[in-house]
């Protein structure tokens, strides 16, 4: 098989109306990005040192653990938001003590203690 001339292949491609349309849109996009100044920002950010600083800030043990648990966190946050929207009456001390028998409350307390411990470590 004879290797084809890349220029010839390109010229052939350019006859394709879909490519022409894509290219027109691309040109519009690039112009718009340039006018908005965004291209200059991107160019400046493509610098190796900026990338290094940015990634060492964004990719940390903390963010990796956070992202890993984002589903649990958002689920918990959803439950908390729901609980906050429900009307409550002040709880007398006696009821507070008896609510400590509720396994959900106990699990919540155990979690809270863990969170407090982690906060103390940090």
């Amino acid at each position: 098989m004879q290797a084809r001339d890349p220029l010839e292949m390109l010229i052939e491609e350019l006859g394709d109306p879909e490519l022409q349309e894509s290219l027109e849109k691309m040109v519009k996009l690039v112009k718009a990005l340039n006018r908005s100044g965004l291209l200059d920002v991107l160019l400046a950010m493509a610098d190796e040192e900026v990338v290094a600083r940015l990634s060492s800030m964004l990719v940390t043990t903390g963010t990796m653990k956070l992202a890993d648990n984002i589903e649990e966190l958002t689920r918990a946050a959803g439950e908390v938001a729901q609980a906050l929207s429900e009307p409550v009456e002040p709880v007398p001390l006696s009821e507070l003590v008896s609510s400590l028998r509720d396994p959900e409350v106990l699990r919540g307390l155990a979690r809270l203690l863990k969170v407090l411990k982690a906060l103390g470590r940090a």
């Binding site: 190796e48 990338v51 290094a52 990634s55 060492s56 964004l58 990719v59 940390t60 043990t61 963010t63 990796m64 653990k65 992202a67 890993d68 648990n69 984002i70 589903e71």
Partner: protein
């Protein structure tokens, strides 16, 4: 005149050659194949029917302009004379040598193995063997699919687990996981060499419907009868099977022979990666005997260390691994380094997305490794096994 010779355009060799070129060094890269295969891709070809074209690229498209690419098969290396000989008789001299020839897969070490691969393909020997495996898997309506290994030392330790997860997922979608059994037979005491990892992987395998046998090292295969026999005296019937072959060092003559260990891997200083007794020759990736897992990540990081050292920095390799264990929709990583055994890493969707990003960046990271270095460095620091020893 200075000439750096890099042998092998796999993961390690391409990263080393392209990095050196980016720093203006004259580099010659010798490779016997025309195309580079992203090896993990064989899993997706074999067990999910992906098109091989997604995972292969011509080598010449993966090298930077400063790299002189030579198509040829290395036959021998003379470290004393700084000479590399090709099978066709050509010779090359060097001032610095980087050996990145990968591991040799020994299909002759296990009776019946060649016949098995010729019949059913597998997910180690190449893209077309993986396609063959897929053509059999999609026809499999009952019986047992066995994924096994002939030796506990092979590249990418979680590869058989990934194979089992992906196959089970495919069969489940086809509604055949009940009538077809996916059976993972491992040459280890637990479901993974590291007990910490085994404790995380075992329940996941069970959940996903994969049966497991431990302490099963394939000794021989009877293709006609559909039986695999183990060194430990067990046997397994199969309808379809893929067995990971024993791995050896590259099949070339090396002078002096003392630099090879008993399996033919090149003995190196595990931190500096220079060939034992030579400061002008290095071995990286699967071809070296560095005491860490044989993975693409290890080859990539090793290449960075060697290039740093050639440039005069006292860079050290720390044996870091980051092998993904991909399951259905989630993933975990085997994260370890010298002196730090694998840490507990749970299966999550975020890690699966990270793995998808790693795969997406593969071709670019081979060709422009210096662009990716700061991002990878941040990731490897953030997930250093010393830092996340409590788990991730």
């Amino acid at each position: 005149m200075e000439r750096i010779l890099v042998l092998g355009a796999g993961t390690g060799g391409l990263v080393a050659a392209n990095l050196l070129a980016s720093h203006g060094y004259p580099v010659t890269l010798i490779e016997k194949r025309e195309t580079h295969l992203f090896q993990p891709g064989m899993l997706w070809i074999a067990f999910q029917g992906h098109n091989p074209s997604r995972y292969t690229r011509p080598v010449k498209e993966l090298v930077r302009p400063g790299v002189e690419l030579v198509h040829g098969e290395v036959a021998g290396i003379d470290l004393g004379d700084r000479l590399v000989r090709l099978a066709d008789g050509r010779t090359f001299t060097y001032t610095t040598l980087i050996i990145a020839l990968g591991a040799h897969l020994d299909y002759d070490a296990t009776p019946g193995h060649r016949e098995l691969v010729e019949r059913y393909g597998d997910f180690y020997s190449g893209a077309s063997a993986a396609e063959k495996m897929w053509s059999h898997l999609r026809e499999l309506t009952s019986g047992r699919l066995v994924i096994a290994a002939a030796d506990p030392l092979y590249k990418c330790p979680p590869a058989p687990h990934k194979a089992a997860f992906l196959a089970a997922y495919t069969l489940k979608r086809m509604g055949r996981l009940g009538s077809v059994e996916v059976h993972l037979a491992l040459p280890f005491l637990h479901e993974y060499p590291s007990e910490v990892v085994a404790r995380i992987v075992a329940p996941k395998l069970e959940d996903d419907g994969v049966r497991v046998s431990t302490l099963f090292t394939v000794e021989s295969i009877d293709v006609r009868e559909g039986k695999i026999y183990s060194l430990e005296g067990e046997e397994l019937d199969f309808s379809l099977a893929a067995v990971i072959p024993a791995h050896r060092g590259p099949m070339i003559r090396v002078e002096p022979g003392e630099v090879l260990d008993e399996d033919g891997f090149i003995k190196v200083d595990k931190y500096r990666l220079n060939v034992e007794g030579y400061d002008d020759a290095y071995a990286i990736g699967d071809s070296s005997n560095a005491p860490t897992s044989k993975t693409g990540v290890t080859a990539h990081l090793g290449a960075e260390v060697v290039v740093d050292r050639i440039m005069g920095y006292d860079s050290r390799f720390n044996g870091r691994t980051n092998c993904p264990i991909v399951a259905d929709g989630t993933a975990s990583f085997v994260i370890s380094s010298y002196g730090h055994p694998p840490v507990p890493v749970k299966f999550t969707r975020f890690k699966r997305m990270l793995e998808d990003l790693f795969i997406a960046s593969y071709w670019s990271s081979l060709k422009y490794p210096e662009r990716w270095a700061p991002i990878f460095r941040a990731y490897f620091n953030a997930t250093d096994p010393r830092v996340i020893s409590g788990g991730w």
